[in-house]
């Protein structure tokens, strides 16, 4: 039977030759990602209640990212408990304040094509860019995973999305994601989105993960990209040898998709998603009268090295507008080091940007950079739900790092093509 990539991974994980969409199966979990937000603080009391330990400490990866660095007694206590959990259960893959979990997972080469992974965070879909199944689950289900090493799921349908052609200057993967939220809607539950086409083939991994990360905004089970030489290079760059069968993890050419959508990247213009949902997207130009109090470059999706490069390209020899503040929270410590070494951070700071510690920061109103009542922010993050970044009356516009940086310079929402020639 012809199968899509997600079916093949689920079939392997559930010890079957093939699986049908809609079928309910139990899968063995290869890797479980726990974060400080919904990890030990919620799981450990349950393990105590059950009187059991974890199924395999070597398959658990633990990160601190949402509450770092501690800013009050509560966040300090959550981080302390997270560190104690790592010690108590012998979690060797514990990355403390190394960056945002989804980003660090990729940097460490912990994902391989064909793997079946679960994460206690909705943007675990990020990992699907490596050709593995990686989806988000609530902490209660991650408790089940950590105890049993298994999870049930209904085999999802696959939606194929192809983007072909070259980006215009000032556009990037983020614009694709925002456009897709509008085109496909945010209610694609129990579907997987598989991305392909020449545009994706030409992207580096830090851009590909933007697409799978924001498969969460499409409401999808996960996003997937079939592995290729770029994938293997990224795994090698992390110091890990790819599995011998890595490139075999692809959809069959005659596999059945629920739908196939084809887009022309050459027609893509910079996108902005207006409050209060990512699917409220349209050309950045449509919002050029919106004044900005804060411009934020951060999050798993929007502050990797490639994102900081985009921002710096716009900010070079320019300054942030009076009355607007630019906050930049690099996605990981490695990003921070690389951006320091190549001068990117200097460009950002010289333009007037404020550098924040690495971590989730203001993205979900848990760290530095929270919005006050009625403030307006343009952000390279992935969600702009009401109150997401602070006060209920604040507004968040989502955009690419190019557009966020251009808007910081102008003090109002700005199509970056006005500044990039």
């Amino acid at each position: 039977m012809a199968q899509t990539l997600v079916q093949k991974i689920i079939a392997r994980a559930s010890s079957r030759d093939c699986v049908r969409t809609g079928e309910i199966v139990t899968c063995n979990v290869d890797l479980a990602l726990l974060l400080d937000s919904g990890g030990p603080r919620r799981i450990w009391p349950r393990l105590k209640d059950l009187g059991v330990g974890v199924w395999d400490p070597d398959r658990i990866v633990l990160m601190t990212d949402h509450f770092v660095p501690a800013v009050d007694a509560q966040s300090a206590a959550i981080l302390k408990l997270t560190r104690e959990f790592a010690k108590e259960f012998g979690i060797k893959n514990f990355f403390d304040m190394q960056g945002i979990g989804h980003v660090v997972l990729a940097e460490q080469g912990l994902l391989q094509p064909g793997m079946f992974a679960c994460g206690g965070d909705s943007h675990s879909t990020n990992g699907g860019a490596f050709g593995c199944y990686m989806a988000g689950f609530g902490a209660i289900e991650m408790t089940g995973v950590v105890v049993t090493g298994e999870i049930w799921l209904q085999v999802p349908e696959t939606i194929r999305v192809n983007w072909d052609g070259d980006f215009h200057k000032g556009t990037a993967a983020k614009d694709i994601s925002l456009k897709l939220c509008r085109e496909l809607g945010m209610d694609n539950a129990f579907c997987t989105v598989e991305f392909g086409g020449s545009t994706i083939a030409n992207m580096q991994m830090t851009e590909r993960v933007v697409l799978t990360n924001m498969a969460a905004e499409l409401g999808a089970e996960t996003g997937l990209i079939e592995p290729d030489a770029v994938t293997l290079d990224a795994i090698r760059a992390a110091g890990v040898e790819p599995d011998a069968d890595a490139l075999e993890w692809r959809s069959d050419s005659d596999a059945e998709y629920l739908a196939t959508h084809n887009f022309d990247t050459g027609r893509l213009v910079p996108q902005v998603a207006a409050p209060h949902k990512p699917s409220n997207s349209g050309p950045a130009d449509d919002y050029s009268d919106v004044h900005i109090d804060q411009a934020y470059i951060g999050a798993c999706v929007g502050a990797k090295l490639s994102d900081l490069h985009m921002a710096a390209e716009v900010l070079k020899d320019r300054t942030v507008a009076k009355g607007t503040r630019l906050l930049v929270a690099p996605s990981s410590k490695r990003t921070m080091a690389e951006a320091a070494a190549d001068g990117t951070l200097a460009t950002i700071v010289e333009a007037g940007g404020n550098l924040l510690p690495t971590g989730c920061g203001a993205c979900a109103a848990m760290g530095a950079g929270i919005l006050a009542e009625d403030e307006v922010c343009i952000s390279s993050t992935n969600r702009n739900f009401q109150g997401r970044m602070g006060a209920n009356s604040s507004s968040v516009y989502l955009a690419s790092p190019y557009t966020v940086a251009a808007s910081a310079v102008a003090g109002r929402i700005t199509d970056p093509r006005e500044l990039l020639f």
Partner: protein, 170 residues
């Protein structure tokens, strides 16, 4: 999970989990978090919802963050069942794991604020006592019945794994 009887709170499409469990209160215990549940959408909800009340909503209920405090806050406030045109995948799974009835209900638009409903999730029955209309809905999927009968994921894990002494790492 069967036999919930309560009054209806109506919500629209795409109610997300950030509004149910706002990040600003994320470090607080569920008792505090719950007082802010859905305040951005309807500030009257948390202070006034009564035990057994029922949420009727549109599409993609619970979209966004995987935070389990979203269904927990609703359960803490006493919400007895959620009827929505569709649910986000993670929210649906979370709710069921807490034993909170989440039923797909295409006729959500026919229900009004304050209507009194009787919901039997095992039998897949919804009765609107205010309008007198009865609805057949999809029952909870069969493979989850054992877990739900046990009272949710935790009681089920306790039953299945709790007795065995497992390795505790190194």
């Amino acid at each position: 999970m069967t036999g919930v009887n309560g009054n209806v709170w109506v919500f629209g499409d795409e109610i997300n989990t950030d509004t149910m469990a706002p990040g600003l209160y994320f470090k607080e215990p569920i008792e505090v978090m719950a007082t802010h549940c859905l305040e951005a959408v309807n500030p009257d909800f948390a202070p006034n919802v009564k035990s057994g009340d029922i949420i009727v909503a549109g599409t993609n209920f619970g979209m966004g963050s995987a935070r389990e405090q979203a269904p927990m806050a609703l359960a803490h406030l006493g919400v007895g069942a959620i009827l929505a045109k569709s649910f986000s995948r993670i929210f649906y799974r979370n709710a069921i794991n807490f034993g909170l009835a989440a039923l797909i209900f295409p006729q959500a638009d026919e229900i009004g604020i304050g209507d009194e409903l009787v919901v039997d999730s095992a039998a897949g029955q919804v009765k609107n006592l205010s309008s007198g209309v009865h609805y057949e809905v999809e029952a909870i999927p069969a493979h989850l019945v054992e877990m739900i009968d046990a009272g949710g994921l935790m009681p089920w894990l306790k039953k299945t794994y709790g007795k065995k002494e497992q390795g505790k790492g190194q």
